[in-house]
Amino acid sequence: MAGCAWRSMLSQVVGGAMRRPALSSASFSRGMQTVTLIPGDGIGPEISSSVMKIFEAANAPISWEERNVTAIKGPGGKWMIPPDAKESMDKSKIGLKGPLKTPIAAGHPSMNLLLRKTFDLYANVRPCVSIEGYKTPYTDVDLVTIRENTEGEYSGIEHVIVEGVVQSIKLITEDASRRIAEYAFEYARNNQRSSVTAVHKANIMRMSDGLFLRKCREVAENFKDVRFTEMYLDTVCLNMVQDPTQFDVLVMPNLYGDILSDLCAGLIGGLGVTPSGNIGANGVAIFESVHGTAPDIAGLDMANPTALLLSAVMMLRHMGLHDHGNKIQTACFDTIRDKKVLTKDLGGNSKCSEFTAEICRRIQDLD
């Protein structure tokens, strides 16, 4: 018994030190930490201000630096994000982003894609936990999907070979696969998750998914404390809708990750309550809400800030501020469970500001 406790404490300490080799955890717990805030479009500004209010109520040591991202043409004609946003992010390393609209036929790639390319955000992490109080047909969901975010089927390499025949290239590289596998195992270790499952279709895509799988197996050798399994994509889908409790951490290439992470979001209630984080090279991490900009309710104080709030909680945990993170999450879940003050999409008819105020009140009660 005591041996177990000592071992888990040791792994937590070791895990904490291993989490971000560049920055020490000490700086997070003492002084104010700067976070780049990108409010976004549509309901973005409202939910961002909700989050800022809640963080203030919780006395979280975060100082926000607001920046806007709109695509601008840099020297050489390449589209890029504004230099002050890039500078701020490079300095603070942590970002929180609201929904950005992707204009069709604007001539530039989507903002999300630009951010991804600029900061090499290679891992998309989505923890899906059932929210007590928001009923879905699935209860007790507690899994994390980790999706490779740079290559795979979304490499964007497509061409028309001859009239009527289109070829789309799925790219799998050794480096990217190893990187994402390493991140997945480290995440599992740091967050006390017991198993990692690689999702693939190596029976059909023998070489590409075969390479991905091989790298996962190699990395698993270095993480013997985490159980490693492999499962076909179709088996995962089949079992996920029947019994999602059998899954823990899932790691997979880009397309499967896209589909599965949205599937899991649907299990817990949709994109309005799902947090998401993007981990990049050089210690950069941007946490975001994945829902749309909802232009029809923008400015009407009807938005639900839960997704952005839970992403912000994920951010606090990433920074080592577990106490504040837990406090805010508990307050948020308690509010939803109570069902007295809920926004329209959660089944109530309160305003966003009322929902925010209720959470702030609970935080203060918790202190």
């Binding site: 879905t136 089927e153 497509e158 009527g164 059909i204 075969g210 390479l211 889908c237 599937l263």
Partner: protein, 417 residues
């Protein structure tokens, strides 16, 4: 087949003598195939015209496609290729044979074994030849071993592409006897079966960098969209949804979507809409009742069909069919090998039995198909004898025995129990 009967009055002395000799439909069509080289393109067009007008008069089994010729039939008995496969395939197909023998179904099985341990393609080529000969097959899933080098392709995929079985059709329906989280699901999924991500075209350009090609062609997209709309119309369905990811794969899925739209314009009575695949899976787990007929490329079909199978109760319940222009192969919808439950008498025989009923419908043995199907559904919904995968305690043999008892009780001709 009415097709060749319409054409037989056309004067050709040699063909008349043939028609007098052989009375069976299959032979007549093979004769009309012999006629075509003599009559050239004219007859070919005539056949197409007759084909389309006649199909509108037929009221059954049109979902098999209007151009599939009837399979081999000699002396009133059909021959069907049987590929046992691996895992639970052999035992389930044995049960199918047992039920067929019991109900005196006029079907003989030509068994072709495919060994998944060898690297040569001899076995699978034998199987393909047998299917070409017989026209219809019933198969279990053939395992693809990862320990083999990447040049050894998936046998199942090879079979589908060689025979050009371009449409995979799966009908997911909530069964009243099975406990599930969602009720009232009734979705038909039509999945392109030959190209897309499953083209098996991969190469390693530089060590550590692998490319896999996803091919989308206009012809195949039009073909599958046309199949989907025809099926929807024939089954009286109101809505077809195309599932895609054209916001990211603009050219590939964009072409697929465009082809679907083109075909949709020819069916104004059917509503057509499209949905991005990740949103589709999210909607499927929250509100699956909104979907009617869905059409999609290969990989999304794999995901969506497995999600839907899970929603209605699992892999043991849903049958699947692969249709091509000339051949049809029937199997379970989710194509599982079921290695972990093989040989333990706990596998659910429902999916395979229902697949064999789909095969009987294709062979136009409608009475036998209905009798077996009703027996299976009675066992499932009324007797409630369930196997472990749907929460019961019955064994496979108990379920099969119950099915046979129900068939006997309906008063049809059967052999001893």
């Amino acid at each position: 087949m009415e097709l060749s009967r319409e054409l037989s009055p056309a004067p050709c002395a040699r063909s008349d003598r043939f028609l007098i000799k052989m009375a069976s439909h299959g032979a007549a069509l093979s004769v009309s195939k012999m006629i075509s080289p003599f009559w050239g393109g004219r007859l070919g067009n005539t056949m197409k015209v007759f084909g389309t007008t006649l199909t509108s008069h037929r009221n059954k089994s049109l979902h098999t496609g209007e151009n599939i010729p009837p399979p081999a039939k000699y002396g009133g008995r059909h021959t069907v290729t049987l590929i046992p496969g691996d895992g639970i395939g052999p035992e389930l197909l044995n049960h199918v044979r047992e039920v067929f023998r019991f109900s005196c179904v006029p079907v003989d099985f030509e068994v072709v074994h495919v060994n998944s341990d060898v690297q040569t393609e001899e076995d699978i080529n034998n199987a393909i030849t047998a299917i070409r000969r017989n026209g219809v097959a019933l198969k279990g899933n053939i395992e693809t071993k990862h320990t083999m080098p990447p040049s050894v392709k998936s046998r199942n995929n090879l079979l589908r592409t060689s025979l050009d079985l371009y449409a995979n059709v799966m009908h997911c329906q909530s069964l009243p006897g099975v406990q599930t989280r969602h009720k009232n699901i009734d979705i038909m999924i039509i999945r392109e079966n030959t190209e897309g991500e499953y083209s098996s075209l991969e190469h390693e350009s530089v060590s550590g960098v692998v490319e896999s090609l996803k091919i989308i062609t206009r012809n195949n997209s039009l073909r599958i969209a046309d199949y989907a709309f025809r099926l929807a119309r024939e089954k009286g369905r109101r809505r077809v949804t195309a599932v895609h990811k054209a916001n990211i794969m603009k050219l590939g899925d964009g072409l697929f979507l465009q082809c679907c739209r083109e075909v949709a314009s020819g069916y104004p009575d059917i509503t057509f809409d499209s949905m991005i695949v990740d949103n589709t899976t999210m909607q499927l787990v929250s509100k699956p009742q909104q979907f009617d007929v869905m059409v999609m490329p290969n990989l999304y079909g794999n995901v969506v069909s497995n999600v839907c199978a899970g929603l209605v109760g699992g892999p043991g319940l849903v049958p699947g069919a692969n249709y091509g222009r000339d051949y049809a192969v029937f199997e379970t919808a989710t194509r599982n090998t079921g290695k972990s439950i093989a040989g333990r008498n706990i596998a659910n025989p429902t999916a395979m039995l229902l697949a064999s009923c789909m095969m009987l419908d294709h062979l136009q043995l409608y009475d036998h198909a209905s009798s077996i199907r009703n027996a299976v559904l009675t066992t499932m919904n009324e007797t409630r004898l369930h196997t472990a995968d749907i929460g019961g305690q019955g064994t496979t043999s108990e379920v099969v025995q119950s099915v046979m008892r129900v068939i006997q009780s309906k008063g049809q001709l059967t052999s001893e129990l």
